[in-house]
Symmetry: C2
Subunit: 201 residues, 2 copies
């Protein structure tokens, strides 16, 4: 389970898409949200768009692995899809904020790798928010203020990427994923491989 | 501090040389040893070759970070060169066995990343030992028996590489090094960068 968090506008969505396009072993966890779709967003690919009563029913029935409130909208991670992917031996990428990350981490059985993406500068973050044509000036200001709070949670993450350039960040994120897959405790079948090796020596 | 351990014949020396040739930020820790040089080995590059009294003096005077006995020969890591490299902000690669790794890890202030290299099969290991022209048949048998003991210590390492092909292992080792450098606790200047970022938002 690979969590990628960042303040809005740091380039997380672009980076996630590039990782999914280049790494065959990872699946995106598609969140449910009560916020309206932005232009170009696709139901079931970017989000599952639901109304508030539906979201609340899912939460009450334990169907969400984590949930959070961001700018008065509700976001959550459907449990079933994640569990199915993990059972099939796939890695799962989560595009969630610090609130959701904390909730995922609270389940002791979860094997989380937490990456925080930072913008190279405040000016860069503001520019990215402004070039998102669909956000109003008010939303931009709201997100700028919120970014500072989100960033304050960087200390809760294992790895930090400063997003100077997306291809460079992709190479670094890929290295993190590759390295984490080589950790001894994650290598399935290792102890029987070592046993057969030692028996043959 | 990156430790690379393996049984003799698993390809550790070749992999280390390739890493040093491709990564500018890492320096090899050159060990002292009382064993005689093999053909082609260069004093000060492969090892510092010393006699037993010199080795014992170094050990008694605290000049060695770790030391071990392997096949009746003494091996040790000179402290001064490692500390100088680390102070200069460089990473240091250690080609040492499980005994030395344990000793390095005992100093609580050490920031170790431990990688264990396994051969793809026992037959592969034996073949590599036999094609080392300088080793006698007796030494080959001794090393085969010793390999099994060395391998039993794989559980003390963070990462496991199975050395199917050296370029593939180099890519994996490079990914481990790149990822470890992106760990939050190793990023110097991060807290002041985040502070300036938040102040500007």
């Amino acid at each position: 389970m690979l969590v990628l968090s960042s303040p809005s506008g740091a380039g997380k969505t672009t980076l996630s898409r590039k990782l999914l396009a280049t790494d065959e072993r990872i699946t995106m966890s598609v969140s449910v949200t009560t916020r309206p779709p932005r232009p170009g967003e696709v139901e079931g690919k970017d989000y599952y768009f639901v109304d508030v009563p539906t979201f609340q029913r899912m939460r009450e029935e334990g169907e969400l692995l984590e949930h959070a409130v961001v700018f008065d909208n509700l976001y959550g991670t459907p449990r079933a899809a994640v569990e199915a992917a993990l059972s099939a031996g796939r890695d799962v990428l989560f595009d969630i904020d610090w609130q959701g990350t904390q909730q995922l981490g609270e389940s002791a059985q979860q094997d989380l790798v937490k990456v925080f993406l930072l913008p190279p500068s405040a000016a860069d973050l503001e520019q990215r928010l402004r070039t998102r044509a669909q956000d109003s000036e008010e939303v931009v200001h709201q997100r700028m203020a919120k970014a500072s709070d989100e960033i304050s949670h960087y200390t809760e993450y294992d790895y930090i990427l400063i997003n100077h350039e997306v291809e460079d960040s992709l190479a670094k994120l890929t290295a993190i994923l590759q390295a984490e897959r080589l950790k001894r405790r994650r290598l399935t079948g290792l102890s029987s491989f070592v046993k057969s090796l030692r028996d043959a020596l």
